[in-house]
Symmetry: C2
Subunit: 329 residues, 2 copies
């Protein structure tokens, strides 16, 4: 078995000192052209790779990003995280970072995990998904000046910390406009109870677009917890009342799927639009709003690397979802 290749091996092979090799790696411009080439040839020839542990011990930086992987809740929206993670890993790779996973039952455990990861692994930064009002996690991290980015806006204070998000209101507005353009006038909204930033945002897009068209949807606005059965129940209820809607915009694909089942045995066809463009939507032909997850992930990594390199950038990125047209609208 070949002995380990260290910076000293490379140095000997290239007839220079350790430090020169280190300079070639970390500050190439201060090394003479010809020397640099010789060192790089030695590196390639020996298959040398800088030992991260040793580097980390000296510099205190690990080139590691941590991301939480949550248990898929109702399952339907799970693959959103999946695609985000993939994008994150790919972009991080390109920037010379690696992605470490962690889980946590609740906020307290999550904070304990931060402490653990920072203490034991010297993590460089965190990516959080799904922030909520008054999030204790962001407060903890900010207090300790740990670099982090959230995928999801801080709804309390938009300037509080770096974030990347998808413009839900723009999405539902786009969906509503599409329905208006195709002749619909009685357009309902199936969303979550008021109070969640994401949910309120998505509802707002629908309401303002209706208002801009001189319509008032107040009677066609429903609030319910996420889930297929909830969606179906509310939609049946909407259809049972006077002046039933001819179309519905939903805050999630789960709700939309429920609506779709309620609509199946309706007298006249009803258009349905979901949110998240999950595999289920693709499977059943549901028109839905697709989040640019790969782009979002890439921007998260970009924000973090800039932050870690001390480069100032605008730390707030808002992306627009795309309406994917299928059979249902």
């Amino acid at each position: 078995m070949a002995e380990k290749v260290t910076i000293a091996t490379v140095a000997r092979h290239a007839q220079v000192s350790r430090q020169t090799v280190s300079n070639v790696l970390n500050a190439p411009h201060i090394v003479r052209e010809e020397t640099r080439r010789r060192v790089q040839e030695a590196i390639a020839a020996l298959g040398y790779r800088a030992n991260q542990a040793a580097r980390q011990m000296r510099t205190g930086r690990s080139r590691l990003l941590a991301v939480r992987i949550e248990p898929t809740r109702d399952g339907i929206n799970g693959s959103v995280l999946d695609r985000f993670l993939h994008g994150l890993t790919e972009t991080a790779d390109a920037a010379g970072y690696r992605v470490l996973l962690y889980t946590a039952r609740d906020d307290d455990h999550e904070i304990a995990t931060y402490d653990d990861l920072l203490g034991a692994y010297d993590l460089d930064a965190f990516v959080l998904t799904g922030t909520k009002h008054g999030d204790p996690r962001t407060a903890w991290l900010a207090e300790r000046e740990v670099p982090f980015v959230t995928f999801g806006r801080p709804w309390d204070a938009p300037e509080a910390h770096p974030w990347v998000d998808v413009d839900g209101a723009a999405g539902t507005a786009q969906a509503t406009r599409r329905l208006l353009d195709t002749g619909h006038r009685r357009i309902a909204f199936l969303g979550w109870p008021a109070g969640s930033g994401v949910g309120d945002d998505r509802r707002a897009g629908w309401r303002t677009t209706l208002a801009a068209a001189g319509l008032d949807g107040a009677a066609l606005d429903r609030e319910t917890e996420d889930g297929i059965t909830n969606g179906e129940r509310e939609m049946r209820d909407l259809l049972a009342h006077d002046g039933p809607p001819t179309a519905v915009v939903c805050a999630s694909d789960s709700l939309a799927l429920g609506a779709l089942q309620a609509v199946r045995d309706a007298a006249t066809p009803v258009a349905v639009i979901g949110f998240d463009d999950t595999p289920v939507a693709a499977a059943v032909g549901l028109t839905s709003l697709s989040q640019p997850l790969a782009v979002a992930a890439a921007r998260c990594v970009e924000l973090l690397t800039d932050l870690l390199d001390g480069q100032p950038t605008d730390p707030h990125v808002l992306l627009t979802p795309t309406l994917v047209l299928r059979h249902t609208a």
Copy 2:
């Protein structure tokens, strides 16, 4: 800002030497009870955490596992990986390991990534998902004696290396038996082209169960690439021929969903059973076979830690899927 807490800080605080602290952590039994307690109190009081980088440099072990995250293909089966990852992270955590993600376009890139991860991060082990016939990745790893486990059997040589898998044949057998029990006699199978280990396995379960009941399904066996539209086409074709099936077992939820759409406008009801119990199945009420992913992940970690600790265990684990009954069968 508080100064960094190292093993020396703890030693000073507990009035012992560095080595004693190290012993408390790595070989508690050789330290006197009372001393051990004193050291542990100091550790707790100071919030000390062993620096992984330093430990790794000396021991050559990183307590890091690597898992590949693949781009979700047709999307429907994506969440399978998602749930597996979550289970993996949770179990690894409990065993004192962390999970590192990586991606790779193809096998060559993946092998290059192994090299990179081993060289730079001293990775302890790899978890591979989805092995295929004559996999170059497992060969590479085995040759270098890198510990790894695959989620999925090596179909060429079952004893080649440690693996965890779900018994597909047992699953489809269970599904077929269920259909037989509820009176069905003409039970079709919608699977993938022969040649893939997983696909052949799932088909075998159906065939042998039919044979055991004295039935021959040869005429009701279809092979097609995965996907909803493929499933729908094949199912329509089956229904159009003489002696159409009254039930169908599918190799995936994608195929089952296609079958479901074909069946919708059939004269008589046809039972459909899918495989993987994806969120889509739950959403549309499709009866499907559920893989015990959390258990599989846990067993993977178990196998690896045993391997790393030099403990001999039976390195081949075959788990049985569960039939989740819903509306369609």
